[in-house]
Symmetry: C2
Subunit: 95 residues, 2 copies
Amino acid sequence: MTAEEAETAARMFKALGDPVRLRLFSAVASHEGGEACVCDISDVGVSQPTVSHHLKKLKEAGLLTSERRGTWVYYRVEPSVLAAMGKLLSLPAAV
Amino acid sequence: MTAEEAETAARMFKALGDPVRLRLFSAVASHEGGEACVCDISDVGVSQPTVSHHLKKLKEAGLLTSERRGTWVYYRVEPSVLAAMGKLLSLPAAV
DNA sequence: CATCTATGTTGACGTCCATCGATACAGCTG
DNA sequence: CAGCTGTATCGATGGACGTCAACATAGATG
């Protein structure tokens, strides 16, 4: 594993390395239709600006995508990235 | 996902959220026999104390175990924890 | 246009973290 | 015991991070 690969992958793990972000991500992923409006998932015990901040981080890490539809903004999981992370975890275990 | 579950899982993701730790972890996991001596994997571009520090973090997160054999210390991957993290990543993607 | 709700941005603050040099400890070898 | 190598700990430092209050923006509606 090169330094560049590690840098990229570490960004994704780091994004899930915060309890609030992990709950937000899980909420989006397990929500009906694979997407969720911010208002559906913002009950994680922190203020609204903090929720917005964490969703932005998850988006920057490539784990979520967002789309505005009228008044609300919907987030959904980026499936390809999930697969990459899963591979990183399952591959070494098989050795 | 409860706050407690998120707290526990986030600790594991956070441990892999540093490029140096991710490279160390990957090096141990992919090393012959599933274990590696520190001297085998310490070429990640940081000082020896820093390597030791990161290995300790991975150990505290429950991702690695260590055992001293004579002069050298060997680290190996904790398989059960890997499975738990993999489940967290693959389960929501299936929904 | 005025106003309301939903969401994002900014600035500040306290805390945690990665890194290093210096040093200590463990085990081998002479 | 003395000296050497491999690994861990300590203390310090600079930077990154999570959180909030205040404010800004987008879209809907009257």
